[in-house]
């Protein structure tokens, strides 16, 4: 089943970000996140990965060569995934913490309400935040315009 997320733009501004990655094994979650982001005019381009390994392969060249243009502005990362979980994904990115901090806002977006997960996330200093599913308008607005929006 391919879930089509049709353009749903309720705002007429230009999208704030250029490119967003959504990494989640569950396509309903991808559909939901993307539709909500689109409704807020979040980004021009959305790319989703049901297998985080694919995202790693796509990210690595840009990170290694420090080509900031090829790195997405924002990444939403799920934690519970079968082949490679979110933690493993973050571990693979650790060597590139500095360039990530400069060029990309990386958010965990999980349905987990396990406090151990929030605690564990604190050990990755290149993470921009820990978000709980479902992704809400208010959370999207905070990413777009900072905490006081």
């Amino acid at each position: 089943m391919q879930l089509a997320a049709e353009a749903l733009c309720t705002c007429n501004r230009d999208p704030v970000f250029e490119k967003v990655y959504i990494i989640d094994d569950d396509e309903v979650s991808i559909f939901l996140a993307q539709t909500m982001l689109e409704a807020e005019g979040f980004a021009r381009e959305y790319e989703s990965f049901q297998n985080p390994c694919d995202a790693i392969y796509q990210l690595l060249p840009g990170l290694q060569q420090e080509e900031v243009e090829s790195i997405p502005d924002v990444i939403f990362l799920d934690l519970n995934m079968p082949q490679m979980d979110g933690w493993h994904f973050l571990d693979r990115l650790c060597p590139y913490a500095e360039i990530l901090k400069r060029s990309c806002q990386l958010y965990i977006l999980t349905s987990s309400v396990d406090s151990m997960d929030t605690r564990r996330a604190k050990s990755y200093d290149f993470l921009a935040g820990f978000l709980q599913k479902p992704l809400e308008e208010s959370a999207i607005q905070r990413i777009l315009h900072g905490p006081n929006s």
Partner: protein, 373 residues
Amino acid sequence: MNVFYSPLQHSAGLESMRLEQLNRRYFNNYPDAIYTIGMDNAFHTVNNTVCQVLQRSREELVGQSFSLFIHPEHWEESVGYFRAASQGAPQRYQTVVLRENGESVFLDVTNFPLKVDGEMVGILGIAKDITLQKERERALLQTSQELQRQNEELELFRKIIAHDFRSPIARLLGLGKLLQKDNLPEKTKQTAVNAILQSAQQLDGMVRDLNQMLTLHHQGDEPRELCDVEELVQLCLSDLQQEISNAEATVTMAGSESLHLFTVKAFLTSIIRNLLSNAIKYRQPGRPLEVVVSVVQHDNEAVISVADNGTGMDLEQVGTSLFKMYKRFHHEIDGKGLGLYLVKEQVRLLGGRIEVESTPGAGTTFTLRLPIL
């Protein structure tokens, strides 16, 4: 002669006893087993307690090798300890002896070397019966293991609730919020409604699974009955008829042996049904599914195997998580992997074992071994 005088009033009588006599009484009536063993391994003297512990008369023991009474599993180490003591070094160790009726008695043994005129003549030993203590230790260990297992399970339940149950709930919340939005394109709306139904079904399935799992824990002492294994397989096949025909699968029974097992019918049925349903779920797309169920008796075990030509899996990658709660390996297939966890638990409760062999792209074989009582 009565020796049990009060020492104050009758010290003269006591004094009249020769020290050797006193020693002998003490030796014979001491509550622990006391004995001497010669260099030829044979009992030389034994006190009453040795006779009580081994439930043999003095005549049956004196002159016999002590190793005749040691439990075969402890024979080698006991002989080793004896040799060390008879070479001059006192030894303390635990061992097990066997009574004539086959009962085991746990002993805490201390053996001292015995020398006469500087020459080793054998050993003097004291053995305390610690069977009761050992039994308590074993019971305690069993209880603590069971507690540990239950605690681990509790932690798993916590994880299931924090992660797995939260996942369809978060989806339902998100989809509900999405549907509240104005100007939703019809197609998006339709997708959201379908996804709501799918998430609710998933949640329902998980609640049912969890309920089944929790019920399982109250079924430790389910009554057992004589079951015809082949009949149970047929029962499962008719339960799964719809799925089997939808998958256009062929299920064959191998091994014409009729096998009866004294077991918990509901568990065995659930195990077989879960294994069959897994085979159907993980079939290789584009290849007609063939499942072979074989039932044979091997020694004192019933060996039931379910082999398929499905997608298979890389067991090295899957590792030990295969039988755990809520682990998913197959990206494309809905549902959480509680089935195999239930299988493992039920097999455990039936006192059996389950093994898996698998080759990615070629198929999987689950082999279940259950004791025939």
